[in-house]
Amino acid sequence: MNKIFPTAADALADLTDGATVMIGGFGLCGVPEDLIAATVAKGARNLHTISNNMGIDGVGLGLMLEAGMIASHIGSYVGENKLLEEMVIAGRLDLTLTPQGTLAERIRAGGAGIPAFFTPAGAGTIVAEGKEVREFKGRSYVMEEGLTADFALIKAWRADRMGNLVYRRTARNFNPVMATASRCTIAEVEEIVEPGELDPDSIVTPGIFVHRVVRWTGYNKRIERRTVRGGGK
């Protein structure tokens, strides 16, 4: 069992137009940069993306947006990307905003074989419009459905050839849950180790969820808001 692919482009060879693609990351942290770059280079069209954010102008998912590859997007916060708004207003991109916890749980449900669940988030707001709302013990909950994808492009820290993954600090974010919810999960990792080197009690994503692994080529990790002690930014 060897899930390691030589390059991001190889791992994405069967990504076709119209695919639904989850992309890990929170802001610019824990984003699979090489896989995004390779997707842009490949030029797939009409993609349906699911990702918490939309990168920023010129970085992360912003690159896919600028390449005109995205037909629809589900996310929770897109405030850093001006182009997105123009495209939404022009009717060129179908945007669905969903509470961040609901997004995470819909993906978790998709990966866990749960077609729908109830959450209090968004009850009594426009998020609940058109959805079933039900009371449990006197509180209102919104029914939300599981999300799955054709591909999940995720970022991890270390992997073995069986696809077992661990993550580093807050770069974990949406990556492990997206890994579980796609037909083909591709992990971009900083280091590849031998099976058995990762502590079996500490592996976050078991290899069963991971179909392909590529080694990150060492792009610069970007910091979106540099804040330091003493009030500096």
């Binding site: 897109v78 707001t125 974990r172």
Partner: protein, 216 residues
């Protein structure tokens, strides 16, 4: 003290030793600066971290270590990292003692609007809807009125809601106001505020039991 400092300082008094707290972006983030000496408060950041430390020393910033405001932060002894799904399971399950966040509008029912202004740039609600729907206690920490002096505490929110009947307490530079089934109760006045001033800058009736005590 400027308005932001008054608000953050007063909000910090709502903390208790051993509390797990989620702080929103802006004024709520400042609350961390006023945790009383000797009190241990653990900060939860919804991007997947429990135990948020102070900003890093210049030169030690780690791109893999940010808070929900996307600012570089540090860890403390006992920090834990987890996924977004686990983070919101923690929030939704009511395990966070207190959530302090900003608002555009709050109304007498405890309805909160803080994510969208029709006609302005599309941003998204992020984790705010989950936080207000689920934390054990929700405090709004905000300036009492808009820059032009228009009330933000209203009879009924006019902006799209973040949550309905979710706010417990409103803390501004002028007042501490508790949301009760009977309506909004003015509980404390800011350092220089008067009841009349608060009433003037509030867009709905306030229940006032004189004398109203001072914040500090």
């Amino acid at each position: 003290m400027d308005a932001r400092e008054i608000i953050a300082r007063r909000a910090a008094r709502e903390l208790q030793d051993g509390f797990y707290v989620n702080l929103g972006i802006g004024i709520p983030t400042l609350v961390a600066n006023y945790v009383p000496e000797g009190m241990e408060v653990i900060l939860q950041s919804e991007n997947g971290m429990l135990g948020v430390g102070p900003y890093p020393e210049a030169g030690t910033e780690d791109p893999d270590l940010i808070n929900a405001g996307k600012e570089t932060v540090t860890e403390i002894p006992g920090t834990v990292y987890f996924s977004s799904a686990d983070s919101f399971a923690m929030i939704r399950g009511g395990h966070v003692n207190l959530s302090i966040l900003g608002a555009l509008q709050v109304d007498r029912n405890g309805d909160l609007a803080n994510w969208m202004v029709p006609g302005k740039m599309i941003k998204g609600m992020g984790g705010a809807m989950d936080l207000v729907a689920s934390a054990r206690r929700v405090i709004v920490a905000m300036e009492h009125a808009t820059k032009s002096g228009a009330p933000k505490i209203l009879e009924a929110c006019t902006l799209p809601l973040t949550g309905s009947r979710v706010v417990d307490t409103i803390i501004t530079e002028l007042a501490v106001i508790r949301v009760t089934p009977q309506g909004l109760v003015l509980e404390e006045l800011g350092p220089d505020a008067t009841v009349d001033q608060v009433r003037q800058l509030t867009g709905t009736e306030l229940i006032v039991n004189e004398p109203v005590r001072r914040m500090f």
